[in-house]
Every structure is written in C-alpha cells, then in structure tokens.
C-alpha cells in the first residue's frame, strides 16, 4: 500500500520498499512462531509455522498436494474461461441488440447482488457431484462481473469513434472487432481481474461442500478430523494459488494493454 500512488519510483526506492515488505512478512512469521512457542495458543488452535511447512512439504512429496492443486486450478480456470467467453459475447450482443438488453438487464441487476453460492444445492440436484456441477457453479458466479464490465466498457466507447468508423465504411462486424472490443478492453480486463479470484473461491467452496479431491475437499476433511496442521497448510496453499492468479492476470493485462496509459 505504501507508495502505491508514487508515479515511478527509482530502482533504489523500489528495492528498499521490496526489502521492507519482505522483512515485514518475515516479521509476521516470527510473531506466529513466537505465539506458538510461548504457548499463548495450543498447537491445536494455532500450529507452529514449522509444523505447517513440514506438512506442506510432506503433502508435496506424496503427490497429494499436486493432485489437489491441479484439480482446483483446473475447475477454477475452466469455469473462468467459459464465463469469460460467455460473458464478453453476451455483453457485446446486449449492447448491440435492444431486445436482448430489455430481457437481460433486470435479470443481471437482480442476479448481481444475489449470493449465487446459495444455488449450489440446486446445481448439485441437476448436475450431480462431479466436475460439471463444480465448473457450472464457477461459471454462474464469475460471469456477472465480466458481463457488467463488458457492457459498461462498450457503452463508454466514444460516439465519435463509432461515427468515424461508420463514416469510413466499417461494417457491423469490423466495428465490433476493430473498434468496440479494443476500446472496451481495459474495462473488460478489469472485469476479468475481478472474476478470476471469484472463480477460485467458488471452486474451493464447491469442493468443500461436495467433498472429494481438490484443495477445498482436503481442507474440510482435515477440519472434520480436527487436523489443524492440514487446515493451515490448506490456507497457505490456497492463498499461494490466489496470489499467483492475481499476479498472472496483472501480467496479462500489462501485456495486452501496453498501449493503454494506466492511471
């Protein structure tokens, strides 16, 4: 947070900031270790960082960690990609077609603030306990921010831009691909950046509810067995994946929008 608004800090300042940040993270770990060493909390309430890291290491060696992570990432990403394709295309069509807009506008404005996860039991009833149900839940939840971002993005495209393109003889298809989509892409990407963490969370919660393999399933299993090391290991693993997702998405954004002056 510190210095986030600084325009472009020098290398030295950035390195200093990085060092400060990491030393604070390390300080947090030391505080955690001390809290467990001094027996402020029992190992059951708060297992020591060392024992949690050992647990992660053991899960990594036995291959469980890899299977669970891969499954969760697969479900989250598959759902996210389907939501991205559907969300952007429905959003685009909605801005070009008044009938569809009339029909879907109230559906979106009612659906957006709803806690979509409530429909998980309904989706289980319809699709069973397998990947289809989990991925469908992810799509259902992740599509809303993408849809609204796409609609807002296309609406904010300058009218002059569209008029000049039309004037120069652009057809509807060219207008879509060469004007609307690129001009709206910064907002669409923001929507995607919001949707990706949601996809991960929903995948984990769906796994927690339905059980089976996956990081959510492993964590809820550990919790039921009162295996607190397993639970804390799960939190760290999920946070790591979440952090990687956020970073990857920011990189994609920087790559795709190199032409766009950001803030």
């Amino acid at each position: 947070m510190a210095g986030m608004s600084a325009p472009s800090p020098s290398f030295g300042a950035r390195a200093g900031q990085l060092a400060l940040r990491w030393s604070l993270v390390i300080a947090l770990f030391v505080a955690w270790e001390l809290l467990t060493r001094t027996r402020t909390f029992t190992p059951f309430m708060l297992p020591s960082p060392q024992s949690v890291l050992e647990r992660i290491w053991r899960d990594g060696n036995s291959g469980d960690l890899f299977i669970n992570m891969a499954l969760t990432i697969y479900r989250a990403l598959a759902g996210f990609l389907i939501a991205a394709v559907l969300g952007v295309s429905i959003g685009l069509v909605m801005t070009r077609n008044a009938g569809l807009r009339w029909f879907l506008d109230p559906v979106i404005s009612v659906g957006f603030p709803m806690p979509k996860i409530t429909f998980l039991p309904v989706i289980v009833l319809w699709l069973g306990f397998y990947d289809t149900a989990k991925i469908s839940m992810v799509v259902f939840d992740a599509i809303f921010p993408i849809l609204t971002a796409t609609i807002a993005g296309v609406r904010s495209v300058e009218k002059e831009l569209i008029w000049s393109a039309r004037n120069l003889g652009a057809r509807e298809r060219d207008l879509l691909w060469q004007i609307l989509l690129p001009a709206a892409s910064p907002q669409i990407l923001t929507g995607l950046q919001v949707a990706l963490p949601i996809a991960l969370i929903v995948a984990v919660v769906a796994e927690m509810m339905m059980g089976g393999y996956g990081m959510g399933g492993a964590m809820i299993q550990a919790s039921r067995m009162a295996d607190s090391r397993g639970v804390f290991a799960g939190i760290i693993e999920i946070s790591l994946v979440g952090w990687l997702f956020v970073k990857a998405m920011a990189m994609v954004r920087a790559r795709l929008l190199f032409w766009h002056a950001e803030r």
Binding site: L125, S228, F232, G234
Partner: protein
C-alpha cells in the same frame, strides 16, 4: 402510478422467466423433483413460514450476519482510520492487510469451525474476519482523500487533532467508507451461506441442505430463492440508505 408501470415493464422479463419455469415444470419434460413448478414452491414456502422453520432459521442467519458485519465495520473502520492518521499504525498494519487481502475469505471456514465449532461463534468470527478488510481499505482511502488544505485550515483555526478528524476527515471519508461497507455486505451473505451449507446445525444454509437431503425439493427451492431475495433486498436497501446519506453532496 407512472413509476409503478415503468417498473413493471422493466421487470417484466423476470415474470416471463417465472412463467417459462412454470410451463417447463408442468410440461413433464423434467422430473418434478428436479424442477418443481413455481406455484408448488410458493405453497411450500407458505408451509415453511407457517411451521416457523423459516422464521427461526432466518433469525439465526440474520443474527450471524448482523453481528459479524457490525463487528467488521467497527473494527475495520477504526483500523482504517488509525492507518490513515498514525504512521506507526500504517507501518505495522499495511503488510498484514496486504498479506491477507488476496486470501480467499471462504478458505477460513474450516479454521473458524476448528476454533469455535459449528455454532454461531464460528460464523460470526468468519464474517467478521472476512468483511473487515474492505471496510478498512474504504476507511483508509477515504480518510486519505480528505482535502489537506481543509485539514490545515481547521488545525490553524485552533481545532484539536481529534476535533478536526471528526469534523473534516470523517465526513469526507464517508463515500469511500460506505463503498467498502457495500462490498462487505455482499461478502457477508456469501460467507454466511457457504459456511452454513458446509458446517452448521441451524440457519438458512443449513435448512437448504436439510430439505435437500430429505428430498423435499419444493421446500428447498423455496428457501434457496428466499436467501437469494434477502441478499438482493439487503443490497437495494443499503443503496437507498447510501443515497440518502450522501444527499448533502449536491
């Protein structure tokens, strides 16, 4: 009258969807357990309401959200303002905020269950922990956005540090703070329902799971739609409240 008519026209697609649902359910193309007709769902809802199951579990759920969200707003708001005002608080808390911000809040469900069991305590703690950060960030950013010159003038006119904070910074921080609380409100319902679906013996999420495993799907659909509606209604009420609160800003 005119506004009612235009609202009816605006929301008529939802009515069409409900009608389509009713027709699809009655057509016999789908198993009646998988897609019960809306009319039967409404009847099941009335039954649940009459039995008192719905009220009891709604109250349990609302108490959990209210308590968790209230604590989150209180603690999160104080932390955010503290971070904006005292360098020390920012240095100490910023890395904690930064570290916990990307953490998927629902991943805390097993931890709070481990600590406090399956009852109210674990849900309240979960909602409080999960909803705190958006409020903290809202308060922090809002307080920083306060006009420095206004603050300086207040101080130079002899207002104490606390006084100028109350009169100058707090009002200008309100819009961002209210925005953060809106995020927290939406999050609180998500956390409530997911934790009740996964580990609970009471509450609307529990009721959904219970009715589903009993095979009384009409009642299950009734509760699912009720929860979705409560979430939607809370957002709309909050929006109206924000509009009234911020009416003084032209």
């Amino acid at each position: 009258m005119n506004t009612i008519a235009s609202a009816a026209l605006r929301y008529s697609p939802l009515l069409i969807l409900a009608l389509a649902w009713e027709l699809a359910a009655r057509s016999g193309l789908f198993a009646s357990s998988a897609l019960p007709p809306i009319s039967k769902i409404a009847l099941a809802w009335l039954d649940l309401a009459r039995d008192g199951d719905l009220t009891k579990n709604t109250m349990a759920s609302l108490w959990r959200t209210g308590a968790g969200l209230g604590l989150a707003i209180l603690i999160g708001g104080v932390l955010g303002f503290a971070m904006a005002f005292w360098r020390g608080a920012e240095t100490a808390l910023a890395p904690v905020v930064e570290l916990f911000y990307p953490l998927p809040k629902s991943a805390l469900i097993p931890i709070t269950a481990l600590w406090l069991g399956f009852g109210d305590g674990s849900k309240i703690l979960l909602i409080c922990m999960g909803c705190m950060l958006p409020v903290t960030l809202g308060a922090f950013n809002g307080a920083l956005s306060a006009d420095r010159t206004l603050l300086w003038s207040a101080r130079s006119l002899g207002a104490s540090r606390l006084r100028s904070m109350w009169d100058v910074v707090l009002p200008s921080a309100v819009p961002e703070l209210l925005n953060g609380i809106r995020t927290a409100l939406a999050l609180s319902f998500v956390l409530l329902v997911s934790s009740e679906l996964i580990v609970s013996r009471e509450g609307l999420g529990y009721l959904i799971g219970f009715l589903g495993s009993n095979g009384t799907y009409e009642a299950m659909f009734a509760v699912v739609l009720t929860v979705a509606f409560i979430g939607f209604l809370a957002d709309r009420l909050y929006e109206a409240f924000v509009r009234r609160t911020l009416a003084w800003r032209e």
